[in-house]
Amino acid sequence: MKLDLLYFAWVRERIGEPGEQVETNATTVAELIEDLRSRAPRYEAAFSDPKAIRVALDQELSTPDALLTGVREVAFFPPMTGG
């Protein structure tokens, strides 16, 4: 499955780019994170603390156990600090 990944704030800085397209066999968000962590140290640095990571699927906040079925865009970022 092809996914558009987006990274924000320090997740973006650690991975070193704002986004990319990946091919993955992951079926859940958690599996996708594991897949990415295995690819390179910069992903490992970004995702080393899963509790510090938030995820949005097609621009809706979601959770690590969410299925990726039908999803096109996955965004990873730290807890939000708006306002």
């Binding site: 704030a9 621009q59 965004a75 970022f77 730290p78 939000m80 600090t81 708006g82 306002g83």
Partner: protein, 151 residues
Amino acid sequence: MAVRVQAGDFDISAELAALRAGRADIGAIVTFTGLVRDTAKGAPIEHMTLEHYPGMTEKALSAIEAEANARWDLQVSLIIHRYGALKPADQIVLVVTASPHRGDAFAAAEFLMDYLKSRAPFWKKEGRGNQGHWVDARDADESALARWTKD
């Protein structure tokens, strides 16, 4: 109901005049303005950068605003949130709520701010000189959100 995500500044009086134009049924208007402070945890701050998630930001703000309008009797609501490079004393966010009743206007404005703080995809990086660090989410902001959860 309106949501704007913009790099530029805003003027509260101009926004209120636009919201009030042609109507005389509003009894109470509450505004909240968030500003960049010149210190954080005792350390001086010279600059702040607000990163956001274009596309999702507008959706998230609109959803939060719709929820506020469903919960309270609002005649008008407005959220303006800036992004990009800011400096101390700059305006970051404006929330406006208008209602026949002051209680609704106050509650909705506070609700909107609590949700914005931890549910809208913005991230603040603040610093001094060529140093900068990402602002941590505050536990207090999560607690503030919890009180709006319906039983």
